[in-house]
């Protein structure tokens, strides 16, 4: 039986090849076939998850709730030092310097990334802004969100902090951060599905050992990760509870 690996569509495109390298590593560890299925769309990926097509996924924290509480997936590990934080940015020459300077009618450039969008909306609340008094334009990447800011199509943009930090210096210098989240306990997780539970213990052990092994370190580097940390059930439940408080 070939198993299916997938990655939340919000991973940085610079690490695309890293996930293919990881998949090769994974098949060697498990001595079984694993197919890597990548998606551009969060909704299409969710539909396939619900239809039982995915066995192992590097999931965004927003989807972790569905995976763990509804579909019986279990968190294997989390990436070290990779908390998901959100930045709201504007053009560098914009007179508005903080979220409270934004007013109803403001145009926001965003992505389909559910975590970043949710956190962006929460950080707009302090300016009395919500979905009823702002307009959104959705873009496929953070580079396009930045472009929308620079060419005046949007007043502010929502970015995954890692995506904002990866913008070219030239582009980033033409923007400024109005606010950046500092939550630190919300992050992606590597989550394993019911059909793959028999591999769970071995895989967790190998994942945790990756950083000790030169080849494993190369694979981690290609994915832009420092290593994996154990995440126990209660830590997972805590993160999901926290996210539940943020969703209306």
């Amino acid at each position: 039986m070939t198993l299916n690996l997938s990655v939340s569509p919000d991973f940085p495109p610079t690490h695309l090849s890293g996930w293919f390298i990881f998949n090769t590593w994974l098949q060697r560890q498990l001595d079984t076939g694993v197919h890597l299925e990548l998606y551009d769309s969060f909704d299409a990926q969710r539909e396939d998850i619900r239809n039982g097509k995915i066995d192992l996924i590097y999931a965004n924290p927003y989807d972790a709730s569905m995976l763990v509480r509804e579909l019986g997936f279990k968190v294997l590990v989390r990436p070290r030092n990779r908390a998901d934080e959100t930045v709201i940015a504007a053009r560098a020459d914009d007179p508005r310097n903080c979220v409270e300077d934004l007013e109803p009618g403001v145009k926001i450039a965003t992505t389909a990334d559910p975590d970043v969008h949710t956190m962006g909306m929460i950080m707009l609340e302090s300016a009395d802004l919500d979905k009823d008094n702002v307009s959104f334009q959705e873009y496929d990447s953070y580079v396009l969100v930045a472009k929308a800011l620079l060419n005046g199509q949007a007043d502010a943009g929502f970015f995954l902090k890692a995506g904002y930090d990866e913008l070219s210096e030239l582009v980033r210098n033409k923007t400024k951060s109005l606010v950046s989240s500092q939550i630190s306990v919300v992050h992606h997780t590597l989550v394993i599905g019911p059909r793959m539970q028999e591999h769970a213990e071995l895989l967790r052990e190998r994942l945790l050992g990756m950083e000790e092994d030169p080849k494993g370190r190369e694979v981690l580097k290609s994915m832009g990760l420092d290593g994996w940390d154990v995440m126990d059930e209660e830590e997972t439940e805590f993160m999901i509870d926290l996210i539940d408080t943020l969703i209306e």
Binding site: E100, I122, M123, S126, D128, V179, L242, D244, T245
Partner: protein, 153 residues
């Protein structure tokens, strides 16, 4: 900072729902909510704090050691009407999410406003505690809440 802050200092006897009370210093001075942060705490089913994140420690003015093991009502500001907390507890006891604006009392007597969301933590069908996540409220919501709570005290 509220434009109405006077900086006045007084000693207030705060009575809690469980019959205990304490004499607290109350200073009319607002500490602004830090941008981008969430204050996170967890309690057991009786409201005893079991987890406090760094933002909670920093904003409350207590050390983590002082917070863990005490009732969450240590944060209760005397300007908050008891009925607001009754609504909170009635809601979460039904397994539902509660959301509201809360004026919190810091250890040094000053205060900070939050938009709080509290949810019950259910594990294997059992209630094991509550998670409370606080975020930055807007000035207009603070103003509305001040007016409303003044009528409920």
């Amino acid at each position: 900072m509220s434009e109405h802050d006077t900086g006045s200092v007084e000693e207030v006897l705060i009575k809690y729902y469980d019959g205990t009370e304490r004499l607290a210093k109350v200073v009319d001075r607002e500490v602004p909510y830090p941008d981008g942060k969430l204050i996170v705490s967890r309690t057991d089913p009786k409201g005893i704090i079991t987890h406090a994140n760094r933002a909670f420690v920093e904003m409350s003015g207590y050390t983590r050691e002082e917070l863990l093991g005490v009732n969450h009502y240590i944060l209760r500001h005397p300007d908050m009407p008891a009925v607001a907390f009754k609504d909170l507890w009635d809601t979460v006891a039904q397994g539902k999410k509660w959301q509201g604006y809360v004026k919190n009392l810091r250890k040094d007597g000053s205060y900070y406003w939050v938009k709080a969301t509290v949810i019950p933590n259910i594990r294997n069908g059992e209630l094991v505690g509550y998670t409370s996540v606080r975020r930055k409220p807007s000035r207009s919501k603070i103003k509305e809440s001040e007016a409303l709570y003044a009528t409920l005290r």
